[in-house]
């Protein structure tokens, strides 16, 4: 072994150790490691008709997702092969031409995915989960594509700019810049989401009480109106620093949910903030950005590297394939965070019955399969399954609710 090889191995080892240490730190959770989820039978919580409907809905959703993935990979593979021909449509320099090729790749992908999107919308409309019109949906997506173009151009400007300066080592400065952009986006995103104040005084008072318990005082709780386009219930914690807030969809606040169920949701979202999940998500993004950018740099070497616009179509394919491969891992991390937020909710509300009821109500409202198959679970589930969440509520009840002296 030469000294250079040994040096590289050592460097790799140090970097891998640093990566693992950072991942370990980000993985820390308030959910007790010793917590054992009891096995519960879904038939005790849902009717046979509900289980049939959700299983049938989810099965088709998975098929549509798979169809979409195949379309995505095939289209981008073809584009990686032939996309450089669009160079003749550019009078710009290398970076401008790279931007054009990037945008055209996304444009072709958008065109190819229109049938998939329409199929998915049709399936949701058929089950009354969406009320958005087809034309409105397609044109809405078309405008959203404009936003993607802007981000893509910015990304390519960074990557190609560094590649022209540093050659194949562009990924070293580019990855932290992308992390910075992710952070900026996390900060700005809440300001781009149109919301209004929560007008229920009782829920507002509860929010203030929970904020004190979870040590996230003065977090605004607001409502987003989505009822015109969907009937799905949802809530999210978003923002960093002064933009931090909890957003509840009006389908949830004004939906068929009891006050106690809304308390569970509120405590769950505040739990995300309490446990710094947005910061941790950015941390995870950083951990994936470095190796991801490095792999892209390696993959496009034969096309002349990222300094050449001809490499852009291939880089899009590599990016999408890497994202697909990373999806199961990202889902594991996401489920881990969501489980912790559920646990925080239980610690705050001390109401496992309300949590169970909330998730029971979610099944007919969202048609989520309470106990999906392994593939769906690994590839698509960003949250613990409904049954796992009910089981966690039951586990909390068994652990703490029997004796106040044992309460955390």
């Amino acid at each position: 072994m030469t000294r250079a090889t040994a040096g590289r191995a050592l460097l790799f080892g140090v970097l891998a150790a640093a990566w693992a240490a950072a991942a370990w730190f980000l993985w820390q959770s308030r959910v007790p490691g010793s917590l054992h989820l009891p096995r519960l039978d879904e038939h005790d919580y849902f009717t046979a008709a509900q289980l049939r409907a959700s299983a049938s809905f989810s099965r088709v959703e998975v098929l549509i997702w798979l169809f979409g993935v195949v379309v995505q990979v095939v289209v981008l593979a073809l584009y990686a092969w032939r996309g450089h021909r669009f160079m003749r449509e550019s009078a710009a320099g290398p970076i401008g031409s790279g931007m054009l090729l990037g945008m055209l790749g996304f444009a072709i992908l958008w065109l190819a995915e229109v049938p998939v999107s329409v199929l998915e919308l049709w399936w949701q409309r058929r089950h009354d989960l969406s009320s958005i019109g087809y034309v409105e949906y397609v044109f809405g997506n078309w405008f959203a594509l404009g936003g993607e173009f802007v981000f893509l151009c910015l990304a390519l400007l960074i990557v190609m700019g560094f590649a022209r300066l540093l050659g194949e080592r562009w990924w070293l400065p580019a990855a932290p810049v992308f992390v910075g952009i992710a952070l900026l986006f996390a900060f700005v995103y809440p300001y781009l989401t149109p919301t209004h104040k929560l007008d229920d005084p009782r829920l507002r008072a509860t929010a203030q009480r929970f904020e004190k318990i979870e040590h996230v005082e003065h977090t605004p709780v607001v409502v987003e109106d989505v009822r015109d386009v969907t009937s799905l219930p949802n809530a999210e914690a978003m923002g960093v620093g002064p933009s931090t807030r909890v957003v509840l969809w009006d389908t949830l606040v004004y939906g068929p949910y009891t006050y106690r169920e809304l308390e569970v949701v509120l405590a769950h979202e505040l739990g995300h903030l309490s446990r710094n999940h947005i910061w941790k998500a950015i941390g995870w993004y950083a951990l994936f950005a470095f190796p991801g950018a490095f792999l892209i740099a390696q993959a496009v070497r034969r096309r002349g590297g990222m300094a050449q616009p001809e490499a852009v179509p291939l880089s899009l394919l590599v990016l999408v394939v890497l994202s697909l491969l990373a999806t199961p891992i990202e889902n594991v991390i996401s489920r881990h965070r969501e489980a912790e937020a559920d646990w925080m909710s239980l610690l705050t509300t001390r109401d496992p019955a309300a949590m169970k009821q909330l998730f029971r109500d979610f099944v007919p409202a969202t048609l989520s399969d309470p106990n999906p198959g392994t593939f769906e679970y690994v590839a698509l589930e960003t949250h613990p399954t409904i049954m796992q969440r009910i089981e966690m509520a039951e586990a909390w009840r068994l652990r703490y609710a029997t004796s106040t002296a044992q309460s955390p």
Partner: protein, 429 residues
């Protein structure tokens, strides 16, 4: 080289630009008898047009008598519009005499017409009416909420619509003619172009010909003398009409990064133009580095809007470099400029801004229609491309004037300026 057949409806311009100040001042009032007369005539024409349509549908050719009657109406409409818009000076006759007015239109003899085009004439004419609404105002009745004249009553397409190029040129020409006793050639040509296009649209709509109107300003004013070359002019590959269908479909979205960059660049340009203004006022010429920067900005702006409006095909660069884009701009160097013109530049630019504003509507309409055509055929229509080039050229001349690249006022003529003739051997001697 593209071959472009001559349009059967041809505008004839024999005007010498001289204007009588008295008749200019009272022009609208003097035209009142004509307004009454054309309103009556228009009512008759509506019925004549329906009969003509049915007859052409049955026989395939418009009947001679009706054809002559409609031609006289179109000619009269051109004479009257030219008079009202100050494109011509003499008071016009009332019967649309052929070859007797300084702004006239040559119309074809009755000829067989394709029947399906006759059946669908009105829907087929809609794109031309849209362009007409922005140029002469012929489509104002169809595309403006109150008809072509702000709801004054006359709603047939024989008068300029508010906001149309001819209307703005006439408005500015009124002041200029009163002061100088002459109509500025640029304004006259611009208004004449709009009127000529209106005549072609009317001839198409009223079944005088089944040849579609051509928006090409160069062909429309082919017999008119070209103005002297402006120091800011278009260069590049005018004949390149190929358009990539994919980039046409996504043109608006693809332009977004450029529009963002152009906005950022505009902020810097607006700051630096103030510095340039002071420097030019003091030294008499713009500082070379600032002139270079602002030249790049003006050129880049042209590239972006040429791409956005489909007047050119490729994705432009971000630096406004000369010689890289098929629709490019030749700009003068940092030459000496008149200090008075520099001092009052922001005021002097207002008339040109109004013309530019009218042309932007034409550019938007041309881009909108080109989008559909290019998507289907994979190439831009020659006429619309040249209309867009005219609007872009004027806009570039305006920007060059505003950003102190030249003190030459933008020239409103749709005709590209003629390069100075090379000196003859005798002159050299």
């Amino acid at each position: 080289m593209h071959e472009h057949a001559e349009h059967p409806v041809r505008l004839v311009v024999e005007d010498d630009l001289r204007r009588n100040r008295l008749t200019v001042f009272f022009r609208i009032l003097l035209a009142i008898p004509h307004f009454i007369w054309i309103t009556l005539w228009t009512i008759v024409i509506v019925f004549a047009a329906i009969i003509n349509w049915l007859a052409t549908l049955v026989t395939g050719t418009p009947p001679g008598g009706l054809h002559r009657f409609i031609c006289a109406y179109i000619r009269y409409s051109v004479h009257l519009t030219a008079y009202v818009h100050l494109v011509a000076n003499p008071y016009p006759g009332f019967v649309g005499e052929e070859g007797e007015y300084v702004i006239d239109v040559r119309l074809p003899e009755p000829a067989p017409q394709v029947r399906w085009k006759t059946v669908l004439r009105l829907p087929l004419a809609l794109p031309a009416l849209l362009i007409g609404a922005t140029l002469g105002g012929v489509g104002g009745t169809f595309f403006a909420p109150n008809g072509g004249r702000g709801g004054t009553g006359v709603r047939f397409p024989s008068f300029g619509g508010s906001g149309a190029l001819s209307g703005v040129a006439a408005f500015l020409g009124w002041f200029a003619s009163l002061v100088r006793g002459r109509m500025p050639k640029g304004l006259r040509d611009a208004a004449a172009y709009g009127i000529g296009y209106d005549a072609q649209v009317m001839a198409y709509l009223l079944l005088v010909t089944d040849r579609y109107p051509s928006a090409d300003p160069t062909a429309m004013l082919g017999d008119v003398e070209r103005p002297p070359q402006h120091p800011v002019y278009l260069v590049g590959e005018a004949e390149e009409l190929r358009r990539s269908r994919l980039t046409v479909f996504f043109r608006l979205l693809l332009a977004i990064p450029h529009l963002i960059w152009l906005t950022l660049w505009s902020i810097a340009a607006e700051v630096l133009v103030i510095v340039t203004w002071f420097a030019t006022l003091i030294t008499g010429r713009p500082p070379a580095p600032l002139h270079r920067f602002l030249s790049r900005y003006v050129r880049y702006s042209l590239h972006v809007y040429a791409f956005l409006s489909l007047a050119a095909n490729p994705f432009p660069g971000f630096l406004g470099e000369p010689g890289r884009y098929p629709l490019d701009l030749s700009l003068p160097g940092p030459e000496r400029q008149n200090r008075w013109v520099t001092a009052f530049r922001i005021v002097l630019v207002i008339p040109a801004y109004l013309i530019n504003y009218a042309l932007l509507f034409a550019l938007a309409a041309a881009a909108f229609l080109t989008w559909f055509v290019a998507l289907v055929r994979g190439e831009a229509p020659w006429g619309l491309r040249n209309l867009s080039a005219y609007a872009l050229r004027y806009s570039a001349q305006l920007n060059a004037y505003l950003f102190l690249l030249t003190d030459a006022y933008p020239h409103a003529s749709p005709l590209e300026g003629a390069a100075p003739e090379p000196a003859t051997f005798d002159e050299l001697l």
